[in-house]
């Protein structure tokens, strides 16, 4: 906490005072995420797309599907790559240039949640073993930044993937050739949902907004799958958690995750 500015320290003290009374700065319950609105098909030329608005944080995710080479030693699987970028119009403090460590972390945590859950059945995406596979690229751009980019990017990417279509390619002369108008649904096995929680003093708050985010002691992102199992996790921030706090977070991640999953399911149902 010592690395906070004076303004952030004052903010933190005000937020903590409210938390003592069981309240949050934007009147939410401690375990209540901000309203989530998912719009799909926002980039019709992409193979899949979605806009997630989580409170005042907004992310657009576009999916591109194209043939690629497999990763080494993974010749029997398609590839999945997830990126994130905070567009400079998303916040006065956002910077252009090569991605900073905090943005790399967001991209990798979102990527791992999707990858480790096995959400996309990548074994169905091989054109020719060891030579040519289908690649799914999920690029997330933050257009408005009001905190908790982990979850907003994750929800946008997951919704975009659910609604995405895989074009058909056939191998000809060792090269993949596109077969027009034969796209099929992306093979989805589960819906991974990340839930990010902040620690401030002894309080655990779900989906911190930017004011809260800037004066958290620590944070944790837990991703669960449709079966209610934990598939990925990332601790961050300058303090630590007790074992009890972590157990509480894991329980929260399942309860909150279920609600979010339902919202995403509903939003993406029509567009399949």
């Amino acid at each position: 906490m010592t690395n906070l500015s004076i303004i952030d320290k004052l903010k933190r003290s005000k937020i903590l005072d409210l938390l003592q009374e069981g309240k949050r700065i934007d009147d939410r319950a401690l375990d209540e995420p901000r309203p989530l609105v998912i719009d799909t098909g926002v980039i019709p030329h992409a193979n899949g797309s979605a806009r997630a608005r989580l409170g005042d944080t907004e992310v657009v995710s576009g999916i591109k599907v194209q043939p690629d080479k497999p990763f080494p030693d993974m010749g029997d699987k398609g590839i999945f790559i997830c990126t994130a970028e905070i567009l400079p119009l998303a916040h006065p403090s956002a910077e252009t240039g090569p991605p900073q460590p905090n943005v790399i972390e967001i991209a990798r945590v979102v990527d791992r949640g999707i990858r480790e859950s096995g959400m996309i059945d990548l074994s169905q995406m091989v054109l020719q073993k060891d030579k040519s596979v289908i690649g799914v690229f999920a690029d997330n751009v933050v257009t408005d930044h009001d905190g908790n980019l982990f979850d907003a990017c994750s929800y946008a990417a997951v919704a975009a993937i659910i609604t995405s279509k895989i074009p058909k390619w056939e191998m000809k002369d060792d090269k993949p050739v596109l077969i027009e108008d034969q796209a099929s649904d992306t093979p989805i096995t589960t819906i991974p949902i990340s839930v990010t929680m902040g620690l401030m003093g002894e309080f655990i708050i779900v989906d911190p907004n930017l004011d809260e985010w800037e004066c958290l002691d620590a944070r944790i992102t837990i991703t669960t799958n449709s079966d209610g199992n934990i598939v990925a996790l990332q601790k961050g921030g300058s303090d630590g958690f007790s074992l009890e706090q972590l157990v509480k977070c894991s329980e929260l991640s399942i309860v909150v995750g279920k609600k979010i999953r339902d919202i995403i399911k509903q939003a993406t149902e029509g567009s399949k």
């Binding site: 980039i43 567009l87 400079p88 006065p92 257009t143």
Partner: protein, 245 residues
């Protein structure tokens, strides 16, 4: 103007283009103002299939300081395409094309913005192409002007922009992606109607001098149509409450 071979008929016997437009008709343009919470000014434009977000910050301090100008404010413009905005996924690093367009758009906006009022500061215009469909730089310029106005930046005039060009030997307004690929000329134009100044002008393709003049005149008609849409969008945000409630 790749001049690529294609089976598409760019103009049919009735003078109708491949997307159903007449030669002097623009695609559908819609503009929404103030779409972002954090930017000082913002706009979202759909110009045919183009979907572009503009955000403006400033006047604000310049870092590093030695980049600032004690006599005037400076305008900085970044035009940027999302990886998913084009048919082949775009590498996230800025391309030479994006760097050039950023510079051209900056110089198209500079005549409009009254920078002298804000010495030592910068006004930043960020243009994000979410979906590209031919004519992104014109659409981005239109959105940028509106976002600058939304940010309360004093301006001499708004810059409106539309391309004209040539396809199937006819001069056409608002060249779409197909016409850009297979057509004969594409000329993006940026215009300040009140001052009668053309602030953006580029050309790829072949035109006689006579066609050149007619092509500009055609493009200016398109610009003026967009100008009305820009003004309406601002009016809607700032005066609609009085009208509608």
């Amino acid at each position: 103007m790749g001049g690529r071979e294609t089976d598409v008929v760019l103009l049919d016997e009735n003078g109708i283009r491949s997307d159903g437009r007449k030669v002097n008709e623009t695609r559908k343009v819609t503009i929404k103002v103030g779409v972002l919470k954090n930017a000082d000014g913002s706009a979202y434009i759909e110009f045919g299939g183009n979907k572009i977000l503009a955000g403006v910050f400033g006047p604000r301090d310049v870092h590093p300081k030695h980049m600032s100008n004690p006599d005037t404010g400076i305008l900085r413009v970044r035009y940027h395409m999302e990886p998913f905005s084009v048919s082949e996924r775009k590498n996230p690093a800025p391309s030479r094309r994006e760097i050039e367009i950023s510079k051209v758009l900056k110089e198209a906006l500079e005549p409009a913005v009254i920078l002298e009022k804000f010495p030592r500061t910068a006004i930043d215009v960020y243009l994000e192409v979410l979906q590209a469909d031919g004519g992104t730089r014109c659409a981005a310029l239109d959105a940028a002007s509106v976002a600058l106005a939304d940010a309360g930046i004093p301006m001499r005039d708004m810059v409106c922009s539309c391309a004209a060009g040539k396809a199937a030997d006819a001069l056409i307004l608002d060249v779409n992606n197909e016409e850009d690929q297979a057509g004969q000329a594409d000329m993006p134009i940026g215009y300040m109607p009140n001052l009668g100044k053309i602030t953006l002008l580029q050309l790829d393709g072949v035109l006689t001098t006579d066609e050149f003049k007619k092509c500009i005149e055609l493009g200016l008609e398109g610009c003026k149509q967009v100008y009305e849409i820009q003004k309406n969008a601002l009016r809607e945000k700032y005066f609609s409450s009085g009208d509608n409630n």
